[in-house]
């Protein structure tokens, strides 16, 4: 499948340079990330506020239907749904974009020595911008249903930071693999769809039996989701959730580093 996973000191040095060069080239990836969003909604009157509007419509529609279907109190269910669906959209967007990260950048990568990390960060920037457009719905929903998370909501920031770190590693790893194996984008799409049903986005962990609920700590989507959503709703995540978030990050970073250091130079050859 691959040449053996042997990484020379030179590979390591170049991979480090790529990471550092990519991060410091922030004018490029913020610019590209913003352009990606602006371009998608170019020539439409509402522009990128379609992101916000679509999210509001979805949360409103599904919220009302599901609240009556699950017989949950709307005042309880809809704020949860709004927060979890917004964070889910961020994670699924990152996962799906990850498979395209280098393929999309092919013309650039074939012509100049641009750090690969620039394009990984572009994907993060693009999804962060979309997230920022969605997250403005939350105060409105919270106000409507009288939810006040208080200062606990600030704990969502370290949660988001962990999520971003995991995404940084995952996009690096998936990007390399998906450039080499062109079935992976399709596989990813299906996996993300499956993950949607296995992650407490439309339902709540409390609705599962306690045995099943503990299985959620093996679902990375569920772990990072809870680290952002729970604080937003005013509940501090338990220490075990933070531990799970960090514990998942470490092997992910390891795998991403190995793949990136070994195959970084090969990426333009595979395009």
């Amino acid at each position: 499948m691959f040449d053996a996973l042997s990484i020379s000191p030179r590979d390591v040095r170049l991979a480090r340079q790529d990471l550092a060069g990519g991060v410091t080239a922030w004018p490029i990836w913020t610019h590209l990330g913003l352009l990606d969003i602006r371009q998608r909604y170019r020539r439409s009157r509402l522009g990128q506020f379609w992101i916000t509007l679509s999210m509001a419509l979805f949360v409103g529609g599904i919220g009302v239907v599901n609240a009556s279907l699950f017989r949950a109190a709307a005042a309880d269910y809809i704020p949860y749904l709004a927060a979890s669906y917004i964070v889910w959209t961020l994670m699924s967007g990152l996962a799906n974009d990850a498979a395209q990260v280098y393929v999309q950048a092919a013309p650039f990568l074939r012509q100049a020595a641009i750090p690969r990390t620039v394009f990984v960060l572009r994907v993060l920037a693009r999804n962060a911008v979309a997230f920022a457009h969605n997250v403005v719905i939350l105060p409105v929903v919270f106000a409507l249903f009288g939810v006040w998370p208080g200062a606990t909501a600030l704990l969502a920031l370290p949660g988001l930071a962990l999520l971003a770190a995991a995404a940084f590693c995952a996009v690096h790893a998936v990007g390399v693999l998906a450039t080499r194996f062109r079935d992976l984008p399709q596989i990813m799409q299906n996996a993300v769809q499956m993950a949607f049903f296995l992650t407490p986005v439309m339902w709540r962990p409390e609705q599962l039996g306690s045995n099943v609920a503990s299985a959620l700590s093996f679902n990375p989507f569920a772990v990072y989701l809870s680290l952002v959503v729970e604080p937003l709703l005013g509940r501090a995540p338990p220490a075990s959730s933070w531990a799970a978030g960090v514990a998942m990050l470490l092997p992910l970073a390891g795998v991403a580093w190995l793949l990136f250091a070994r195959f970084r130079a090969r990426i333009p050859y595979w395009l």
Partner: protein, 241 residues
């Protein structure tokens, strides 16, 4: 100081067909019995073979050879885009590779936005882009069109913008695939003067072309490529003529 040193550089492309590129095949093969690095199912194209090349400031290298001889691949190695699959490539200095001048330009963006985007890729800060914007706008002679989306441009107008921004940089090493010609007669002369200035300022120039006349005008060294190898090296007249 700008310099280029290629030592025994080879570039070998694996051509994965749809089958061998699939994850399923990859996994199956691994399960089937060890890693096979030279799987006969994977076609390999040797685009460059054992190329040695040293360029120092003042060198103006002419690159000649038939189509498919490896000129473009060599230019991509020199730009740093392709890291050699074996051998060593050391490239010191700021490289501008004008292999595809319309690189990364987007039809939905305005001329100005495209210039800013390209500037960012070339490593310019926002301020540097702003400083050069007027000069580029003057050069393009597009007036108010520069604030319209590029999809409203004719192909000649897009090329003017692409050329204007591509040549607004000040690289140490300049890589050109054919001398770019843009625009109608009057503009072409202006464009020629602009690219000549760029070539003069660059410390090292590599120019691939099929035109003997152009190569003799701008170059002081030449290599001829065939089948991914350098087969002749020397003065422009003896190699190209």
């Amino acid at each position: 100081m700008a310099s280029i040193t290629l030592q025994d550089v080879s570039v070998e492309f694996p051509i994965y067909n749809a089958q061998s590129r699939s994850l399923r095949r990859g996994l199956m093969r691994k399960v089937g019995g060890g890693l096979d690095t030279h799987d006969p199912a994977v076609l390999r194209v040797q685009a460059l073979r054992n190329v040695n090349l040293a360029l120092r400031p003042g060198d103006r290298l002419a690159l000649v050879g038939h189509n498919g001889a490896g000129k473009s691949t060599l230019l991509r190695v020199l730009s740093g885009a392709y890291e050699p699959s074996s051998g060593d490539a050391r490239i010191e200095g700021k490289v501008a590779s004008l292999l595809d001048i319309t690189l990364g330009m987007d039809d939905e963006l305005t001329g100005r936005e495209n210039i800013a985007l390209r500037g960012a890729f070339a490593g310019l800060t926002r301020r540097e882009v702003a400083e050069r914007m007027d000069e580029i706008a003057d050069f393009c002679e597009l007036g108010e069109f520069l604030d319209l989306p590029m999809r409203t441009y004719s192909s000649g107008m897009s090329l003017r913008v692409a050329f204007g921004v591509s040549t607004a940089l000040s690289p140490d090493i300049l890589l050109l695939d054919e001398l770019i010609a843009v625009g109608d007669a009057g503009f072409a002369a202006k464009a020629r003067a602009r690219i000549e200035r760029l070539m003069d300022q660059a410390s090292i120039l590599v120019l691939a072309s099929h035109s003997v006349e152009i190569l003799e005008t701008y170059c002081n060294r030449a290599v001829r490529m065939e089948g991914g190898r350098i087969v002749a090296e020397g003065g422009v007249r003896e190699v190209v003529g």
